[in-house]
């Protein structure tokens, strides 16, 4: 189908973007990569009236290191840029590993991290990765900037903590600490599809002991789901098959996946258990194929 009739305005500066957005009213939408927004318009799932194109705002661009501990990623960084950027590959391997799982090359060339987080698809990779990495979402309105922990940013199905006329300016990630390991795994029907279920995982290892493990699932709830009980079960434990089995058992109480076109809630729980075992095995350097 074709998109509904629209108005289009292009902002040259951030302050102009806020002005144009106000003028266009609360139904207007920001246009970043357009890889979700233009698809929903073609389905006529939304009728925003006006699109405010923010893609040329240099204030929202760039990937840089801030001090010794933080990587700041501008909201307009595309998936493709994340995948090839040296700072990301060196300091945020989880993000670099997630990129090839997102859609296809042609979509990754335009889709942005800000758009992915603002769209808040529960099956998307980057929201779960941001939660697993304790990222901060830098939100801006015409007057102010505030930082929202990723774990509090996703508030429901396609819903975020952003307020009216507030946008994502950047995402700030703590640089991976020495000894930190990460992994992102998913099950999808076809390469490039949104995941039926996935997990973003992080831990430090002291010998074989799991320190401060993080397990954040996607595609199994209305937002990224932090598996608190499974995490508590393995924290401080040796990464052994028995520990993995205990985490799989604990996961039952962490997840309550709604049925969707990929299967029943039970099927999704099974996917999540398999992914949990594979992720822990990978983090601990165990045989992944035997762990599930």
């Amino acid at each position: 189908m074709k998109a509904p009739p629209l108005s289009y305005v292009r902002a040259a500066t951030l302050s102009e973007a806020f002005q144009l957005w106000r003028d266009a009213g609360p139904d207007a939408r920001l246009l970043a990569g357009g890889q979700s927004l233009l698809a929903t318009l073609a389905f006529r799932l939304s009728d925003p009236g006006t699109l405010v194109d923010i893609v040329r705002l240099h204030e929202l661009r760039g990937i840089s290191q801030v001090g010794g501990t933080t990587i700041r990623v501008g909201a307009l960084a595309t998936h493709a840029e994340l995948g090839r950027h040296d700072l990301i590959r060196r300091h945020l391997p989880l993000i670099a590993e997630a990129v090839p799982l997102i859609a296809h090359a042609a979509v990754r060339n335009r889709g942005t991290i800000g758009g992915s987080l603002a769209f808040a698809d529960p099956a998307a990779e980057l929201p779960a990765c941001c939660v697993a990495l304790d990222a901060m979402i830098v939100a801006r309105n015409a007057a102010d900037e505030r930082r929202i922990p990723a774990a509090q940013f996703f508030t429901g199905l396609y819903a975020t903590a952003l307020r009216p006329y507030e946008l994502i300016a950047a995402v700030e990630f703590p640089i991976a600490k020495p000894g930190e390991r990460t992994a992102v795994l998913e099950l999808a029907r076809r390469s490039g599809d949104y995941a039926m279920a996935g997990v973003a995982a992080k831990t430090r290892l002291a010998g074989a002991t799991l320190i401060e493990p993080q397990l954040v699932f996607f595609g199994v709830g209305d937002r990224p789901v932090v598996a608190e009980r499974a995490m508590a079960t393995i924290s401080g434990q040796q990464a052994l098959p028995a520990t993995i089995a205990a985490a799989q058992a604990a996961l039952a109480a962490d997840l309550d996946p709604p049925a969707d076109r990929h299967g029943s809630g039970r099927t999704k729980r099974h996917f999540a258990r398999v992914l949990l075992a594979r992720a822990l095995a990978r983090l601990a350097g165990l045989d992944e194929a035997r762990a599930a």
């Binding site: 189908m1 108005s7 289009y8 357009g34 233009l38 296809h104 335009r110």
Partner: protein
Amino acid sequence: MSAEIAITLTVNGERVARRVEARRHLVDFLRLDLGLMGSHTGCEHGFCGACTVRVNGAIVRGCLVLAASLDGAQVETIEGVSDSGEIRDLQDAFIARNAAQCGYCTPGMLLTAADLLKHNPAPTRAQIREHLSGNYCRCTGYHAIVDAVAAVAAKRNGRATP
């Protein structure tokens, strides 16, 4: 509502100035405003890849880019890369292996394959399949397409055709 937007851009090396409806996507712009019929639309919501074209050197879904947003951009289509001879070997291999059947997916397949070989001149078959996985062929000629891309990679690297 729906006011027209003035854009000036380069399409296959030629400067083009037009006024476009805000909702017009790039492939409709190419086909309906410029008469360049080589870029196709299948699904028009990002899934099939038939609309693949290049913007500023990178492949994109033409159905998920608004023409209005392309002021100043460089667009290249299958017509442009055919005329320049850039992908002649890929085109020859597609014909030799019957990798273009009805031809509907072919422009998108060729541009996606050219993109792969630019970034990864010696891909494995698995890498070829992965890179083409967002391009659907309704005639389901996938094996012939992968064969054609593998043959071109081998030839460009001076190896025997697999």
